[in-house]
Amino acid sequence: MPLLDIRQLAIHFHTESGVVEAVKGINLTLEKGETLAIVGESGSGKSVTGMALTRLLPEPPTKYASGEIIFDGKDVLKMRADDLRKLRGGRIAYVFQEPSTSLNPVFTIRNQIAEAIRLHRPEVKNLDAEIVKHLELVGIKDAAARLHSYPHQLSGGMQQRVMIAMALSCQPDLLVADEPTTALDVTIQAQIMDQFRELRRTLDMAIILITHNFGIIDGFADKVAVMFRGRIVEHGSTREVLTNPQHPYTKALIQCIPRLGAHQKRLITIDHAALDALERK
């Protein structure tokens, strides 16, 4: 039985100007310990899919029009509120895009991680030791001294590491990283991705990486799903998709990765008119 099994999931937003179909019936499976990358541009429905896993989207306007999300044998869409709360953090944890606003500015990082641990692992007695352990796990040196720092005293990369530590501290089965490196500068991006690779090796945990950047998933994800306008247009092992893309959108996305030494005059962009025509066919 797969850890996560999404079947025919459709998500609609009921806004004042009509119904927006953000996700139009997608299927995805994820085994224990497997790594999946969901790639797509803004508005393709990739973040919405990630948030839907624990029903984080505000309802209304969000409506789960059809389908089911089976996590560990139970349908998330039919769960009661308190079961959902146990699921969130305890089994599925998140890392968000914007590290500077993901941490509450008025609390120290110790405080915030302690809160997560108290919530899901009340049996932990020595909170400080546990927190330091997880901060060191995500590559924060001198973690004990950092415990009582406020978020604004940390750099963006550090903040994101703290967020990852917070997500890991509840020992989830699945970590959803929603564009975890987008708000960071390139060198820090590389460091954080290295950290993820490291964690993937050391911890037995499934990871869903949501990104718009094909460039960072190579050598990280086992599988990749390409999302385009609410649909999964291509789904397969990372190597296969990267070397032999089938869908024109995937081809276009892969072409968009800027390469050092490739003598291009202009960066390649995606021709949406052609894709529109393709969709109408």
Binding site: G89, N104, P105, N111, H120, Y150, C170
Partner: protein
């Protein structure tokens, strides 16, 4: 029976003074001095909770005893004061046990202006407490406050006399009748009472009214604002509906009608309730707006994503982020509460007759200013006392805000 009453009163007064100090210094503070407790935060928090429960138990016992021997006016000022003291202590204890507050406390100790403001506020509270505790030591068993006992040497005059004057104001005869007292520091008012003493007595009214009203309207306004701003949709509609209705009725009309309903039984508690249920609109609107802004930020989603409940998110994440508005609102609202009391008293539905209040003093000052010679001391004394309190609270509020600001390290 008289002996018993005397016992419970003296016991009560002494006990609560002692308890207040003991509580502040031995319950809230020992973790600051006892190393093992400082390092074990959980123990510290347990200590705070249990000792607060203990205080609540003792208060309940005291009032149980007083109730069963059926003393009149058992719901008197000291209940309010002790309740307030208990509340503040509870907050302090819970507070001192959290890392954030401990840091703020440490920072506050280095803030001289803040400490000065705190001592001024404490001075006001001390005077208010003196006026609050009553002992049956007057003629025919009448109750007298500790403050009355302290100033009982100061006699009344027949009418107005200027500050430090040796004769009555209207005594223009060649050989004026000497006053009953050598001098009155701030003169006497129409009925011949010493203005300085009256001003001191007014502390209690102002503090109880301001404190109690704030204790009612701040939780109400903050909670409503948080609920509306966080849940949106129909909850917000309901909150908006409530405060729009309240805001559309002229406030003074609403106040007067609530006071009228209470009839002759009205007391400071009733007045605080009236001021409280009409006064939360402004705070609610502020908090609601800021909550809406804050709940857009990712940390709220992040808090949900680790499985925190709505209540935890509102109380632990959003409330601290809107607390600065609450603090400012409290400080600014305090003086307007005291002044509203003056308006109500002027309309005849305010403080019970015979209560010393700055509001009444300022109000009577209006007509006194048009006299010839002008009677300015009554108005001035009350205004300066009010000004001092509000200024001290302002500075204290500022210092607290600075001490709690995580951006200042």
């Amino acid at each position: 029976m008289d002996a018993l009453k005397l016992f419970t009163d003296v016991f009560g007064a002494a006990f609560f003074f002692a308890l207040g100090f003991v509580f502040l210094w031995w319950v809230a503070m020992p973790p600051l001095f006892i190393p093992w407790m400082r390092s074990d935060r959980e123990a510290w928090e347990r200590w705070g909770s249990w000792s607060t429960l203990l205080l609540a138990g003792v208060v309940a016992m005291y009032y149980g005893v007083r109730y069963f021997i059926q003393l009149p006016s058992w719901l008197s000022g000291d209940l309010l004061l002790v309740g307030g003291l208990g509340g503040v202590t509870f907050l302090l204890v819970r507070a001192a046990s959290s890392e954030r507050w401990e840091r703020a406390l440490r920072r506050f100790r280095g803030d001289r202006l803040g400490l000065a403001a705190l001592s001024v506020v404490c001075l006001y509270i001390f005077v208010g407490a003196l006026e609050t505790f009553r002992l049956p030591m007057g003629e025919f068993g009448a109750e007298k406050s500790l403050l009355d006992l302290i100033v009982q040497k100061i006699p009344n005059e027949r009418s107005y006399s200027a500050p430090l004057a040796s004769k009555l104001l209207n005594d223009t005869s060649a050989e004026p009748t000497p006053l009953n007292s050598n001098f009155h520091l701030l003169g006497t008012e129409q009925l011949g009472k010493d203005v300085f003493v009256e001003t001191l007595k007014g502390c209690r009214t102002a503090l109880i009214l301001g404190g109690l009203t704030s204790a009612i309207y701040i939780p109400l306004g903050a909670l409503m604002g948080l609920l509306g701003g966080y849940f949106r949709k129909w909850v917000d509609d309901l909150v908006q509906y409530l405060y729009s209705v309240l805001a559309s009725v002229p406030e003074i009309l609403l106040l007067v009608s609530i006071m009228f309903v209470q009839g002759q039984n009205r007391n400071l508690l009733g007045m605080s309730i009236a001021l409280g249920v009409t006064g939360w609109v402004g705070l609610c609107r502020l908090v609601r707006g800021e909550t809406m802004r804050q709940s857009e930020r990712t940390y709220v989603t992040a808090a949900r994503s680790i499985g925190q409940s709505h209540w935890q998110i509102m109380m632990r994440h959003l409330l601290p982020n809107v607390m600065h508005l609450v603090l400012i609102n409290f400080v600014l609202g305090f003086s307007s509460i005291v002044l509203t009391e003056a308006v109500l008293s002027y309309l005849g539905v305010g403080c019970p007759v015979g209560t010393a209040s700055w509001g009444l003093m300022i109000d009577s000052g209006r007509s006194e200013l048009s006299r010839d010679p002008v009677v300015w001391w009554n108005l001035t004394a009350a205004a300066v006392a009010l000004f001092g309190l509000v200024l001290a609270l302002n500075l204290l509020g500022d210092s607290l805000r600075r001490a709690f600001d995580p951006k200042r390290s």
